[in-house]
């Protein structure tokens, strides 16, 4: 259920990012909400579900953006795995580090993306722009705060429902069981 809900959220975000977010003025930028969602999933989802989720997001983005299929799923999975590894059993899991980590991971992901294309397919991407990337990162940081709140609310809401459902199911299952 959680996976489906967040998959739908991602689907809606991709549609919004490719359509009406494009109408926003340049100074407001177009925050990469999918990156925020990948980082969020790294904090909340398990390894298996999170990897599938990150791959699905990259896959969808690959369809609507980019020239060479495969790069976005790779990027998403790498971002997910890196943050998952870093945050597991470390202070980075604390909420105080979550938002800064969104910005740092975005910046590093952009650098990695540019480096990858520069090495494999030079001349495919526009020149590196510090101004643009730093501006995008700052806007992403600002957008990450309400996004994390919203995603957190959604996660807690559906997770609670899931737990309640499990408890009820268990009770029903045990109702007529005879003790040996």
């Amino acid at each position: 259920m959680l996976f489906v809900v967040f998959f739908l959220v991602a689907f809606f975000l991709i549609v919004a990012m490719t359509t009406f977010f494009q109408l926003l003025p340049d100074w407001l930028g177009q925050p990469d909400f999918l990156h925020i969602l990948v980082v969020f999933s790294a904090y909340r989802f398990g390894w298996a579900a999170g990897l599938v989720f990150a791959f699905s997001l990259g896959w969808m983005l690959d369809v609507v953006s980019g020239l060479y299929p495969g790069t976005y799923p790779l990027q998403s999975v790498l971002v997910f795995a890196s943050i998952k590894l870093l945050s597991e059993n470390s202070p980075l899991k604390e909420s105080a580090y979550q938002i800064p980590l969104v910005g740092i991971s975005y910046f590093i992901a952009q650098m990695g993306f540019f480096f990858f294309y520069s090495m494999t397919l030079p001349g495919t991407l526009p020149p590196w722009s510090w101004n643009k990337i730093v501006q995008d990162t700052l806007i992403l940081l600002l957008a990450a705060i309400p996004s994390f709140v919203l995603f957190g609310y959604l996660y807690d809401f559906f997770n609670k429902r899931k737990v309640i459902h499990k408890v009820i199911s268990k009770r029903n299952a045990n109702q007529f069981r005879r003790d040996q």
Binding site: M17, Q22, L61, V64, G66, P126, D136
Partner: protein, 291 residues
């Protein structure tokens, strides 16, 4: 005890009454005499002159009162009237917006129709349904795909010039790589002197490469397709020279070109279907290989 009247005083009163009556009679006679024959005489005029100011005075007072009354009565309905008029203004503004929008759409369609009538290539009109959200790639998504005859490699244009090339297709949608993307390259030339070069995008505008330093290129010159390679016919607008830089080193000059197409505001494109027709012709002319 009743008071008795003095007979002398009674006579005196009677005499005064008689005199007054006589005077009134005389006046009436004089007035009658003055008006005799329809003439507007002195007394008429005197009367007129004495009545006129009074009439004027009362008329001004009554009209003043009437105005005040009218204004007061009008105030009763002014609020309703104001609200009604505001409603009408809002309604008309809404209609005006609708008509302005419809008019601008109409103008756009007229331009597109002119373009379609003028151009000889077989084309299919497609609506832009999505744009690339990333900074790195310049692509758009259109609502036409394989089912409409779109194949990879087809060229998209609009009334302003070259838009891009189809790079990925599904049944009902296609992705177009915009001409201003760094990975696109178009054979181009300066229209005024046919000097040729390779036009490449840098994400925002174009750069015309491989134009020798001695070539006469100035700001404002029109850049069009050269027609080499068979993808574009020659003379399709690409943009205008916005800056020319000649460095001391090297053979070539750096020419910056502003695109003639506003890539941020593309709503409709025309996909050139010639490629498809070529394929069909090739398929028809090739001998069928039997089992």
């Amino acid at each position: 005890m009743r008071k008795q009247n003095n007979p002398r005083e009674g006579k005196k009163r009677l005499a005064v009454r008689k005199v007054v009556l006589l005077l009134v009679l005389v006046c009436c006679l004089v007035l009658f005499a003055a008006s005799f024959g329809g003439r507007f005489g002195l007394f008429h005029q005197l009367t007129f002159e004495s009545l006129g100011p009074a009439q004027k005075f009362f008329t001004s007072i009554s009209s003043g009162v009437e105005n005040i009354w009218d204004d007061y009565v009008a105030l009763w309905n002014i609020r309703d009237e104001n609200q009604r008029l505001h409603g009408i203004v809002d309604q008309l503004n809404g209609k005006l917006n609708e008509y302005t929008e419809a008019y601008s759409i109409y103008l756009g369609l007229i331009e597109k129709l002119k373009f379609k009538e003028k151009e000889s290539f077989p084309s299919i009109t497609a609506q832009v349904v999505g744009r690339d959200p990333s900074y790195w790639f310049q692509t758009i998504i259109i609502d036409r795909g394989v089912n409409d005859g779109i194949v990879k490699g087809m060229v998209a244009r609009n009334e302003n010039g070259v838009v891009g090339q189809v790079i990925q297709v599904s049944s009902n949608y296609a992705k177009i790589l915009l001409a201003n993307a760094p990975s696109s390259a178009i054979d181009a030339m300066v229209q005024k002197n046919r000097v040729r070069g390779i036009l490449k995008g840098n994400g925002q505008h174009y750069v015309l490469y491989y134009v020798l330093k001695n070539a006469d290129v100035a700001v404002g010159d029109r850049i069009v397709t050269a027609g080499i390679g068979g993808i574009f016919p020659s003379g399709v607008p690409l943009g205008y020279v916005s800056a020319v830089r000649k460095k001391q080193r090297g053979m070539f000059q750096e020419i910056e070109v502003s695109p003639s197409v506003d890539f941020q505001r593309i709503e409709t494109v025309f996909v050139n279907m010639t490629e498809k027709l070529k394929w069909e012709v090739e398929l028809q002319t090739q001998p069928l290989i039997g089992p």
